[in-house]
């Protein structure tokens, strides 16, 4: 499962962990997160995330 990084603050979305504080269950692929979800650290949207290489 691909990890994604927030281009603004560097927070990493790990699908295995999800973002339970925002209702995103562990195991949720980044692509399946609702579009109104926000980065839990800095508040930007999904558009500001990129695939974490390597």
């Amino acid at each position: 499962m691909k990890k994604y990084i927030c281009d603004v603050c560097g927070w990493i979305y790990d699908p295995e962990i999800g973002d339970p504080d925002s209702g995103i269950a562990p195991g949720t692929q980044f692509e399946d997160i609702p579009d109104d979800w926000e980065c839990p650290e800095c508040g930007v949207g999904k558009d500001d995330f990129s695939v974490l290489e390597g």
Partner: protein
């Protein structure tokens, strides 16, 4: 005024006694824009001031050293209250390198004409030797902007913490033991609540990283420098990053013809049956700065608005927009309000806003058609009692 932090390290900032508005934050105590000069084999300036005060900042530096001796100008944060004076100092010191991280360079290039600047781009963990001392850099994204960083001088155990631990507080003194501690802590709390409350998670991580450093002094970019009360401010930040509840309840409302106000008063009566702090705010009489400061560490909040034009009272809507952006956590509460013929807007819309703010709802909204009946006022009292009971458990 003593401006010396450590031998060879001086404050060269600007005291802004009269500023009362800081992008919406009501700064009744003014502010300071702190910049620092380090004189070593090479000299470095840490940060700048607002653009309009650049001459006074440069004069303070010149009083201590020849501008030709400045090798580095460090920019820890690109926001104009600290970066506004950079074009001036870079022009006055053409030999100096502007030291910042890559994100900061990008932001500065989008603020100023930087075409003549020499750059020294640093990454997290990099350091620069000045001779006897070292400048070491720690990226602290979102404390307060994405490019924010701390500069640490290990030889002096001195941390330049940028906006973290700052206060909008103009004073003739530069250090935390020269003004009453309760005044400084209140200003630090207001600053935290109104500037960085929403970044509690990254700030908590930053506190963890700072805990690995030996620190004797913290020099923020606003307000007094911490040299005697580091323990107190660090402990307070540990509580603030999680918006830790205290035994305090807030009743916040707007009213048209006093119906919602009477409901608010009944809620307050219920709260006061418990041994908790209470805050009672009519939005028209209280600035959002004060409300946000109190929300930071409250346990519960009731928010009320009548229905006006099928929506909310606009002043309350503005405060809710502000609070929602600040993302307080660990709060409970409920909505209330009167209406005439339409249940749209009013308490319903307040509740929607509270849901968006992730405030845990303690009950359904309390509504009153026109003037509240004794039964409705008793519902309000009971809801107030429930908040008081809940808040009481946070008593030490």
């Amino acid at each position: 005024m003593n401006t010396t932090l450590k031998e060879g390290i001086d404050w060269v900032g600007y005291i802004d006694w009269t500023v009362r508005d800081f992008h919406g934050y009501k700064t009744d105590s003014g502010s300071t824009y702190n910049a620092y000069l380090i004189r070593d084999e090479k000299c470095a300036v840490i940060d700048a001031v607002k653009a309009q005060y650049v001459d006074k900042y440069i004069a303070r530096i010149q009083a201590l050293t020849d501008l030709k001796n400045i090798s580095y100008v460090v920019c820890n944060h690109a926001e104009p209250d600290h970066s506004g004076g950079l074009p001036g100092i870079m022009e006055a010191c053409p030999q100096a390198e502007l030291v910042c991280n890559a994100k900061c360079k990008d932001a500065l290039e989008k603020h100023f004409d930087t075409s003549a600047w020499k750059w020294r781009i640093v990454e997290d963990g990099d350091s620069i030797s000045l001779g006897k001392r070292t400048l070491s850099f720690i990226n602290t994204p979102m404390v307060h902007w994405p490019e924010s960083m701390f500069t640490y001088v290990p030889e002096d155990k001195l941390l330049f913490s940028m906006d973290a631990f700052g206060q909008h507080f103009a004073t003739a003194f530069r250090f935390d033991d020269e003004e009453p501690l309760d005044v400084i802590m209140q200003e630090a709390k207001a600053y935290y609540a109104n500037i960085v409350m929403l970044y509690g998670r990254p700030i908590a991580q930053t506190l963890d990283r700072a805990a690995e450093l030996e620190i004797e002094m913290i020099a923020p970019s606003h307000g007094v420098i911490w040299r005697s009360h580091l323990k107190e401010v660090l402990a307070a930040y540990r509580k603030w990053v999680v918006c830790k509840p205290t035994p305090k309840v807030i009743v916040l409302y707007a009213s048209m013809w006093q119906a919602t106000e009477h409901m608010a008063e009944a809620i307050l009566e219920g709260v006061q049956e418990h041994e908790v702090e209470a805050r009672f705010y009519n939005v028209d009489a209280t600035h959002s700065t004060q409300i946000a400061t109190e929300v930071l560490d409250c346990a519960a909040i009731a928010i009320g608005s009548p229905t006006l034009n099928n929506t909310l009272m606009p002043n309350l809507a503005g405060v809710l927009c502000y609070l929602k952006g600040l993302r307080p956590t660990q709060k409970k509460g409920f909505a209330f309000g009167s209406y005439g013929w339409s249940k749209r807007g009013g308490a319903s819309e307040v509740e929607d806003a509270m849901k968006e703010m992730k405030i845990e709802l303690m009950q359904e909204p309390i509504r009153s058609q026109y003037v509240p009946t004794p039964e409705i006022l008793e519902q309000c009292r009971e809801a107030g009692r429930a908040m008081g009971r809940y808040a009481e458990q946070f008593t030490k």
